[in-house]
Amino acid sequence: MLKILKYSFYDLMRSRWSYVYFAFYLLLGVVLLFLNNDLSKAVITLMNVIIVLVPLIGTIFGVMYYYNSKEFTELLLAQPLKRPSIFLGQYLGVALSLSMSLILGLGIPFVFYGLFKSGAIWDFSLLLITGVFLTLIFTALAFNIALSNENKIKGFGYAILLWLLLAIIYDGVFLMTLILFEDYPLDKLSLVGTMLNPIDLSRTLILLKLDISALLGYTGAVFKQFFGTNFGLIVSFSVLVVWVMLPVWRIVFKSKKKDF
């Protein structure tokens, strides 16, 4: 698996898109710091961008990479290699190279701005950690979609749909439910609802660390009580880990049964 990972990573590190992605984050980091002139504020703005963009890029890149390397995968399948190691290697290659673009692209401008001397370093690290988690989750989901769909167009369609669902539609439905059932105590429900969507979970985690939870009103207080504690933090990260594990497990499962 490590060999496949090495070569996939190497291949991607030389692809133009990795550089475009890297350059985009670099530019975003520089522009935000320049406009905000403040590390903490830049982190908040960045969060809003990352929370939506990272899943999108992870999904599209994952699907694209799978379909593009299909014939090569077939060549690898004819080698004395185990199937799960081929697909996990490729998956990790994509996810890690995307994560690296994210970390370096955002890290470099922030470090030059004086990140290490500022108090925002923990917030910023949390931002990057959730960014990496989102990359791992959505690339794995993308591989799942691609493995289940031979048809490229369908695969891309489902991938975009998945992103739309989790990044936008979920929030809408969630909000509607909250409005619809506003007469009932909803703090538990909203807590669970937030946990079930990795994008919402990441957003809440960062928001609460940024100490702007007061803006969230009563629910914010409940959230703060939960996510603000160590227990909440551990539970949240466990949920994120589960979100990575489940699609990865399905990649292994599916790849063992698939015909090429």
Partner: protein, 235 residues
């Protein structure tokens, strides 16, 4: 070398293989023929473990291949379509496949044979179809495995490379290896193969030498013999 028993495979509603029984002895060149959609590629991919059969067993050198990957050390496979990661250079790809399988020096001779030296530092994405096929051939033949499977090996090759490929196949045969070939080019098959296996509608219709086939179908040449099978069976 390879023995296949009662192999069934269905893709959706399409029953591709309907109980294939085939045993291939060690040494010699075997051509797998059949009309489009007769299950040639499915059969070959089942032997490689790329397609997972619904029913039946496949043994390579006496070992059941089910859920194993080690047996593929004994197989060299040339896929039909060669498409490699476009950002890798030719020599990096060769190095990578060697790294994944085992060290060998055989590629030096093959690169020379197919005149690939000028392309070694080029990225795979910039190569023409024929050159990619040559790289593909180098990757296949550089490991000295006892079983070689070639899926449409002639596609995209120029006449000189085709002659070299034929020589290469004969040289491997002389070493006592077993070679499985699928091809649509009948003259190529007639020239290189010792025995043919004819698949029709998911079953083995005929297995034997070309001479046997001619006698069986009462046709003077190979092309017509194949054509007569197809017309008689309305395939």
């Amino acid at each position: 070398m390879v023995s296949i028993e009662n192999l069934h495979k269905k893709f959706g509603k399409n029953q591709v293989l309907k109980g294939v029984d085939l045993s291939i002895n060690e040494g010699g060149i075997f051509a797998v023929l059949g009309p489009n959609g007769s299950g040639k590629t499915t059969l070959i991919k089942s032997v490689l473990g790329m397609v997972i059969p619904d029913k039946g067993t496949i043994e390579v050198q006496g070992n059941n291949i089910n859920k194993s990957s080690e047996y593929r050390h004994k197989i060299d496979y040339l896929p039909q379509i060669a498409n490699f990661p476009s950002n890798l250079k030719v020599k990096e790809l060769i190095k990578m496949i060697k790294d994944l399988r085992k060290p060998t020096n055989e590629e030096i001779h093959l690169i020379e044979l197919f005149k690939l030296e000028p392309f070694l530092d080029k990225k795979l994405g910039n190569l023409s179809g024929g050159t990619k096929q040559k790289v593909n051939i180098v990757l296949t033949f550089m490991f000295d495995s006892p079983l070689i499977i070639l899926d449409e090996p002639t596609s995209g090759l120029d006449p000189i490379s085709l002659i070299r490929l034929k020589d290469l196949i004969q040289a491997e045969k002389a070493k006592g290896k077993t070679i499985l070939i699928t091809s649509h080019i009948m003259s190529f098959v007639e020239e290189v193969s010792d025995e043919i296996v004819f698949l029709l509608e998911g079953k083995i219709y005929f297995k034997g030498t070309i001479q046997d086939l001619k006698t069986k179908t009462k046709q003077p040449d190979f092309d017509h013999a194949i054509a007569s099978i197809l017309t008689n069976n309305h395939a």
